[in-house]
Amino acid sequence: MKLGLGRLRDVLKTGSGSGEGEKKQVEGKNKAEKEEMQTINEENKPEISERNEGNTMELRKAGLESKKEPLSPADRTGADKTGLIFFPAFDWAISPTHPEREERLLYTRDQIFEEGLMDLPEIAEYKPRLAEYRDIARVHFCVPDIKAQATTPHLIAAGSCLVLGDALMKAEVKNAFALIRPPGHHAMTVAHGNRGFCNINNEAILVEYLRKKYGIRRIAIVDTDVHHGDGTQEIFYNDPDVLFISFHQDGRTLYPGTGFINELGGPKALGRTINIPLPPGTPDEGILYVLDTLVLPILKDFKPELVLNSAGQDNHYTDPLANMRFSAQGYAKLNEKLAPDMAVLEGGYAIQSALPYVNTGIILAMAGLDYSCVREPDFKPGMFVQAARDRKTLEEVVAAQLENWKNRDRLVESEVAKHGDFYRRKKQIFYDTDMIQEFQEETIRMCPDCQGYKTIDSHAHRSGDDTRIFGVSIPIYACKNCQAEAREEYRKSLNHPEYEYVYLQDKKEDEYRAYNTRTKQEIAY
């Protein structure tokens, strides 16, 4: 591999060949699974905040680490390489004939290796690593625990994003592409199982990791997968600092059946979720129209510190699971125009007819190289033309969403006025892969000083098995009052026997806990 200067410097500094960060990774799986368990009985109720101050062990774990000033992102103007992790997980599948199976990226490997892309001076190939359990806990309430939802391949896919995120923040690379599987954009805050081939949300894990480690705040995620990125949307729905834009085949015609233009974000984040349902059969022209007239202008206005492309490849005209007409040229052009800081692979199941060409196109486009000769064997320019009616539909969607974007502050103001101290909504979530029906009540604290903490009461039904959990989530930029109130909420909930598990996600303190009300054991990640 080619080493960025920053990493080389690390090597030379320590003289041992591995910087402090790397050393931890070398410990690999053990480190990733770091968790602490303790039993809590009636007399010994957890008094979290006090114990944090009293117990040096805990201090080292949560206190000191989180109080350490975040690093600053380095200036990337001098960086000229595109970071790439190719992690095809050749030894992992959901099941042998499932679309998410071993050889999904096999032909992509053949194509990009045969092209010699890894040899190009514009490309720096990185090695994946495992994400740590706390990286997962920063985003998800995993039921019953992280181990059950995030298997080793999931940890590597998420960890790959973190490796590239670090490379980006240290300015070793100008942009990056995580060409990885398994995917993640359907995974929501609560993870009872696999939905839409996803267990944990790679982009969300990356966003919260970068915020914690480098102190960045405003991030835009553009989901270009053919399916609505409902997981990512749900995770950041109430976060005004994350702009989530998803274009996808109209939810009335495709899984997961959401992503309509009225889904605009929680009361304090209205307009920060922008959905663009596309008519089935939309070709390059339609998608690039949406990009030019809606996505790019909004991004320019939002001024994010980081733009992520949640990069599904199933808009392709040969994809077996969807009905769009996007081409490899279209994908390359999309990434050239969008110029994301980082792209993360999501879906895309035309593993022979699309992926080898689409991925070659995206890599070349991100590296600033000529992609004009990348095309599918049967592709002919002009083979797909947008229907006039569909064009009109798109124009209407674009106009409506531009209006919403323009009025977002007013929308927030009038919506917030409608609610008192709390905003509640009920949701039903279906897990197609694992056949789970989940009922949720989400409560947001309508705090005047911050985006407010969130609690989720979640009840999952699967055949012969019901689980109810309660989770408390404190945003990284929450105010002190919200933090204290939320922690109290967690403490009180430990006594509720109707919940099997109670979770605390304190991103401000970088402290994550899961309590089993049956065994009365608490795990700290």
Partner: protein
């Protein structure tokens, strides 16, 4: 008796080994213009008193190909390229390229046919332009060589004298640009290389030496000299390979070592991990082109015993020592004009050679410029050189640890190794080895005959061989990348192709490797073959499995011949 000769850039080293013992050694200066003379001079020096009948094996390592390329004395080659979709071929920097229509995909399925009229026109043009050699390379030609073979036929028809190289015969690995470069360099050097081999054979005949003659490759393996004509570029970088095998031969089995060869201008490094020399994960770079040639992971850094030492003002105003990257002749204590690390080593009494008074003068000049004592100054120089080398060693280990991983188990496999030994090979700057070892927390080892370790390596290296088997049961074919034939599975003993198991595919690869080894005249090493990687993928159409793809990579890895290994047991 075994003979090993390494023709290096400065000296040509030779050894004669009898019953696992070094009987005699020789070192002669290399004549850059006439490698053959140097080689024969060294050969004669050690075999003078030996009955040629008693010689069992002669191995050469030579820079002949490297020199040809460096000096631009290679032949012109017309490159006939069929790139298909992908990177814009206009971005390639290969000379004399002729691009043709046509394309294969990753499964070896034709996606665009050839244009016969275009081929005929191009062959005519190549002939008119005076090329006598051409290389035909198709993207994914290794998955289906049909296009390369058809173009070859047209050449045979209208320009039969043209010497041809086909991409799929040169390498079966994925990476079209590297295959272009490897085919181009193979074609461009083969003519000269054949002349070189002919001369060697003639000279040996004149000396009545009838022992088998081998040539050392960049991967530390030997190849019968007649066979090496097929793969001339594989003989590049055999010098560092010889040193590494030499270090392997001269240190205890199974250990992890850094091989350090300190020269005048540069220091060459290689790694031996648990007794196995580390291969570069990708092919070597040659003449500015990345190739498919397998080579050891070696690193050359621009600091050596004769590097010029200077005192400079740093940005902060303090005085600093800089070392290299240039050499201005020998060290001061050896009659040169500039202070060098060798002078510092001499001053500190860490080496034998050199004039102590001149070393003192050299260090004194530096010390006064630096404003430090002479001992401090000399120690600082030695420390700085040792640190540079130790840093480079750490970097090599780090890069090895950070090599990309494509499978879950590869990520979980925690690569971590630190050197147990720092092995000094070659004649230079022995006193530094201990300093480097100290920095790496390892044991310094300077084996007996270290100064001809490279020649020992050549003498005792065993053959290497690779075999990459690809089976596509949906298309009912298999291919061996190194052989370049697409063979129907009907010719095999498999009954139901869709029931082939991975262990059966591995057994088939082992059998094919045995045949290939016989073909190379090295069948006695076939048992040393190991599976490097093997994998199987389902081919699923819709929701049904319609076939399976197998890839089995096998190799006879670099190592030592049994004659040498037996000696350790005695």
């Amino acid at each position: 008796m075994l003979i090993g000769i390494d023709v290096g850039g400065t000296t040509t080293d030779a050894v004669l080994i009898r019953n696992g013992k070094v009987c005699s050694t020789a070192k002669v200066s290399t004549e850059p213009g006439n490698l053959m003379n140097s080689l024969l001079e060294a050969l004669d020096a050690i075999s003078r008193d030996v009955d040629p009948e008693q010689l069992e094996r002669v191995v050469f390592s030579t820079t002949v190909i490297t020199n040809l390329i460096a000096e631009g004395k290679t032949d012109r080659v017309a490159l006939v390229l069929i790139p298909g979709p992908g990177i814009n071929p206009a971005s390639y920097t290969y000379p004399d390229s002729f691009f043709l229509k046509g394309a294969m995909d990753y499964r070896g399925r034709e996606i665009h046919p050839l244009d016969e009229a275009e081929i005929r026109k191009t062959v005519g043009l190549i002939r008119e332009s005076g090329f006598s050699r051409a290389a035909i390379i198709n993207k994914f030609g290794q998955r289906n060589p049909f296009h390369e073979l058809r173009i070859e036929e047209i050449f045979r028809e209208i320009y039969p004298e043209c010497k041809l190289e086909l991409g799929h015969k040169v390498s079966g690995k994925l990476n079209f640009p590297r295959r272009i470069a490897t085919a181009m360099l193979t074609s461009a050097t083969r003519g000269h290389y054949i002349e070189f081999v002919e001369k060697i054979k003639k000279s040996l005949e004149e000396r009545n030496i009838r022992a088998p003659v081998y040539i050392l490759k960049a991967d530390g393996g030997t190849l019968p000299v007649e066979k090496s004509i097929e793969f001339p570029v594989e003989t590049i970088f055999s010098g560092p390979a010889a040193s590494t095998i030499g270090a392997l031969a001269l240190t205890p089995e199974g250990q992890t070592s850094v091989v350090v060869d300190i020269g005048g201008t540069t220091t060459d490094l290689a790694l031996i991990l648990s007794g196995k020399p580390l291969m570069a994960s990708k092919g070597a770079k040659l003449g500015g082109f990345l190739t498919h040639v397998r080579a050891f992971a070696v690193r050359s850094i621009a600091v050596g015993g004769d590097s010029v030492v200077r005192v400079k003002d740093s940005d902060t105003g303090t005085k600093q020592i800089t070392i290299g990257p240039y050499r201005a002749g020998p060290a001061y204590c050896m009659g040169g004009k500039e202070t060098t690390p060798t002078d510092a080593l001499k001053f500190l009494g860490l080496i034998e050679v050199g004039n102590p008074e001149s070393a003192g003068e050299a260090i004194k000049a530096m010390a006064s410029a630096l404003g430090k004592s002479e001992t401090e100054t000399a120690s600082l120089i030695v420390d700085k050189v040792a640190q540079r080398i130790a840093d480079a060693v750490n970097e090599m280990f780090f890069e090895w640890e950070q090599e990309p991983a494509y499978r879950v188990w590869e990520v979980l496999q925690e690569k971590e190794a630190r050197p147990e030994n720092v092995v000094g090979i070659g004649g230079g700057a022995k006193g530094l080895i201990a300093e480097i070892a100290k920095k790496l927390d390892a044991k310094p080892v300077i084996p007996e005959y270290a100064e001809v370790g490279n020649a020992i390596g050549a003498a005792v290296a065993r053959p290497t061989l690779t075999l990459n088997l690809h089976i596509d049961t949906e298309q009912k074919v298999y291919s061996v990348a190194e052989e370049g034939e697409i063979v129907s599975l009907n010719t095999t003993n498999f009954g139901n192709f869709n029931k082939i198991r991975l262990d059966e595919a591995e057994a088939m690869a082992a059998e094919l490797l045995r045949e290939r080894a016989e073909n190379f005249g090295i069948s006695e090493y076939a048992d040393e073959a190991e599976v490097v990687n093997s994998e199987v993928f389902n081919v699923v159409n819709g929701w049904y499995t319609t076939g399976r793809l197998f890839d089995v990579n096998m190799q006879i890895p670099a190592g030592l011949i049994p004659e040498w290994k037996r000696r350790e047991n005695v």
